[in-house]
């Protein structure tokens, strides 16, 4: 008790020395090159090309209100053998250390993805600086670096544009799937599930890549568009799903918050009726039949008729049930389509049926887990869809009908 004061003095002294010597991990904000998007491409035989889209803060915010003439971002690129080595080499180009803590999207080149992602994913999951919540995408038919070189309007940084576009489209349209790095990694690791990554393509005149005029035109000459899903087997890209199949996949995964289904009119194939699905419930059941699993998919949807071109009177219950039936068929078709493609074309269980089987029957799973993808392609899948059309917005009859009356 007597010399506690003294003790505190000594320890304060020690603390002060450390503090003075300290500051190992300190980085000032203006010493950071904040990377918001990253692209990884194949370069030559074995090397990778790492592209970092780095923010230029003054160009985005600041006193000039962002109307400066410099581009809002700058792309640093280096090639190397491993991602860590390459990232460090980047400092040769950039005056500041690249900071990846704010990464929003990671894009793999298609060629690179075909060879396997494993060699970069380990570093990304291990390094403490990477977050776990950025999106991943595969550049379809182009290089990842090209996608990062496109000027965009509306959002100042291309990365933000890429991120929010993916966010929105995966929610309201159902073709794309917003896959985060965490989902990707856990799907690759899991034995009962394969990975899926959304695709991104460049459309338009490639001359405008890396040109500021692109953002200045009302109709941008070159656009980044999300489309389709890339199917992986382990960490390697094996193929793409088309639009229908992608939607089918998303139905199974319950990824869709809402989407619209385009149906042909019962009487006239050329006229269309659109049902907007608002609520989607999905149940995957595994039933063991004769020691073999059978998958039952039960899907329940609720929707509204949002656009009807056919001449139907929706005040009649019959026409409603007709629409419901059509919706059922449509959804079932797209699901079966995607299941078929994956079972037979790619032999990759991206739906996670394997995990369901494991839960249902661990003993059986022990048997088949090592060649699950083979087993998967032979599993019967039953799909049952129950749709309900609740409302039809403000009008009960279609516009055409009302014109004719």
């Amino acid at each position: 008790m007597v010399d506690t004061k003294r003790l505190i003095k000594i320890l304060m002294f020690i603390l002060c020395t450390i503090i003075i010597v300290g500051c190992w991990n300190r980085r000032e904000l203006n010493d950071l090159a904040v990377s918001v998007a990253m692209g990884i491409d194949k370069q030559g035989e074995k090397q990778i090309l790492l592209s970092d889209q780095v923010l230029i803060p003054e160009a985005i915010s600041g006193k000039e209100g962002g109307t400066s003439t410099i581009a809002p971002v700058v792309l640093f690129q280096t090639s190397g053998y491993g991602i860590q080595e390459t990232a460090r080499k980047m400092t040769k180009r950039s005056t500041r250390k690249i900071y990846v803590g704010q990464l929003q999207i990671l894009i793999f080149g298609e060629e690179f993805a075909k060879e396997g992602l494993a060699k970069v994913l380990d570093h990304i999951t291990r390094d403490h600086e990477y977050r776990r919540d950025f999106y991943v995408a595969v550049a379809r038919g182009s290089k990842a670096q090209d996608i990062l070189k496109v000027f965009t309007a509306l959002e100042k940084t291309p990365a933000t544009k890429l991120k929010s576009a993916l966010d929105v489209s995966s929610k309201v349209w159902g073709e794309t799937s917003a896959i985060k790095i965490d989902d990707l990694v856990s799907a690759i690791i899991s034995k009962g599930k394969e990975a899926v990554v959304t695709g991104i393509t460049l459309e338009g005149d490639r001359k405008f890549i890396n040109k500021k005029q692109n953002a200045e035109k009302i109709s941008a000459p070159v656009k980044q568009i999300y489309s389709n899903l890339a199917v992986f087997k382990k960490d390697k890209l094996v193929g793409w799903l088309n639009e229908q199949e992608s939607i089918g996949y998303n139905y199974i995964q319950k990824n869709i918050k809402s989407t619209s289904v385009l149906l042909s009119c019962p009487k006239d194939n050329n006229k269309k009726i659109t049902v907007e699905l608002l609520n989607l419930k999905n149940e995957t059941k595994v039933v063991m039949k004769n020691g073999k699993p059978v998958i039952h998919l039960n899907i329940k949807t609720e929707g509204v008729i949002s656009d009807a071109q056919c001449s139907m009177d929706f005040t009649k219950p019959f026409s409603i049930s007709q629409v419901e039936q059509l919706t059922n068929n449509k959804i079932q078709k797209s699901i079966l389509l995607s299941v078929n493609t994956l079972q037979h074309k790619y032999k990759s269980d991206i739906f996670g049926f394997g995990e369901e089987v494991e839960r249902k029957s661990p003993e059986y799973w022990e048997h088949v887990k090592n060649n699950w993808n083979e087993v998967f392609s032979g599993i019967p899948v039953h799909v049952q869809v129950k749709s309900k059309v609740r409302q039809m917005y403000k009008t009960s009859k279609s516009f055409l009908e009302r014109m004719e009356e």
């Binding site: 003790l7 320890l11 020690i14 991990n25 856990s186 690791i189 661990p362």
Partner: protein
């Protein structure tokens, strides 16, 4: 001087639960899930019940020698020389435990937040605080725990609440797919890790004001601590799945990374980590206090306080050399540590209790008392 210090039974309860939560909250989910996989929560329950049994043992021992610390019990039962030797071994046990706790903290910080900071710098900072705290005495530690524990528990509660939307209920299935063996097997290091270490708390057990309430506090404290660990294990499985839980060394930190509250508040993991620092701090300071106190009692010193600074000085290099890397530490924690802890946490108390019981039965009427 130190013996006059008193703590309340509620404070004792808090100290125990913080002591159990301490470093375990970081490491336990991964250790449990490495073998039991999705049944890790089951192992947590087994560990908890084993822990409660142990607490019953310690409590019996503690109330057998009212007002006596473990070291004093040793000396009373085994006589001066053997008792001193055993107490010294006990001291080594607590010293190694303290070192391990310190090292765990340093490893956690350097690997998750400050990779460039030398681990010794972090240790020095922590040792400084701990030395001051130990110097202030156990009652001050108890008061500090009074102040911090509402924060820790409420933040833990918020942490759980924020993770609920991320639950994937199906992660927990299938239940007991591989039978009970892996579950039992993985609960062994868990029993060794926080629960067998509880034996050291017999050093401060006599400080508690009301011995009757102290026993109850011992139980409830253990229960609370074990429940927190159980919750965190369960949540890790729910959110991360068994695979990720097992492969992430600091699974609960990984959990914290999953929290998002809207767009603005993300990546609160640092704040959650800070809460864990505080629990680790408590574990460390209790261990440190016990180590120093144990030594001073073993050598019959009048005061433990002069030993705090040199002990801190000694702990610093020890914590560096104690393990070459984290995987060594974890393998030690899961293989050797349970045995080592078993020696001091189960065998020694049992012998003590047995001998004491025999002595009481045969000699109680002949000898009035053994104390000097």
């Amino acid at each position: 001087m130190a013996k006059k210090e008193k703590i309340e039974s509620t404070q004792f309860r808090k100290l125990i639960s913080l002591y159990i939560i301490g470093t375990s909250i970081l490491l336990i989910p991964s250790i449990l899930a490495s073998e039991a996989k999705q049944d890790a929560w089951f192992s947590a329950i087994i560990g908890m019940s084993a822990g409660l049994l142990l607490v019953w043992l310690y409590h019996t021992l503690g109330s057998f020698f009212p007002g006596k610390t473990l070291v004093e019990c040793n000396k009373e039962i085994f006589g001066k020389w053997l008792g001193t030797l055993l107490s010294f071994l006990m001291f080594m046990f607590s010293l190694i435990l303290t070192t391990l706790v310190l090292r765990n903290l340093g490893d956690f910080l350097t690997s998750s937040m400050f990779p460039e900071t030398p681990i010794s710098a972090i240790h020095i900072v922590y040792l400084c605080i701990v030395a001051i705290g130990a110097r202030y005495g156990i009652s001050n530690i108890a008061r500090t725990s009074d102040l911090f524990s509402p924060w820790i528990f409420s933040l833990f509660f918020i942490f759980v609440l924020l993770l609920i939307p991320k639950f994937e209920w199906k992660h927990i299935q299938p239940i007991l797919a591989k039978g009970v063996t892996p579950v039992l097997h993985s609960s062994i290091p868990y029993i060794g890790f926080p629960f067998l270490e509880l034996v050291l708390l017999l050093m401060i057990f006599p400080c508690v004001e009301n011995p009757k309430k102290a026993g109850k506090a011992f139980f409830t404290g253990t229960l609370i601590g074990a429940f927190v660990l159980f919750t965190i294990t369960l949540i890790s499985i729910f959110v991360l799945g068994a695979e990720s839980t097992a492969s992430n060394i600091y699974a609960s930190f990984e959990l914290a990374k999953k929290i998002e509250i809207g767009e603005f508040i993300q990546r609160v993991e640092v704040i959650i980590a800070l809460i864990w620092f505080i629990t680790i701090f408590f574990k460390l300071i209790i261990c440190f206090y016990i180590t120093v106190f144990c030594l001073s009692q073993t050598l019959n010193l009048s005061d433990y306080r002069p030993l705090t600074l040199p002990m801190a000085m000694l702990l610093l290099p020890l914590s560096i050399i104690i393990s070459p890397n984290i995987s060594y530490l974890i393998s030690f924690d899961t293989t050797v540590w349970p045995l080592y802890a078993l020696t001091f946490g189960l065998v020694l108390p049992l012998i003590l209790l047995g001998v004491a019981f025999m002595k009481k039965k045969f000699f109680s009427k002949n000898r009035p008392s053994q104390a000097e």
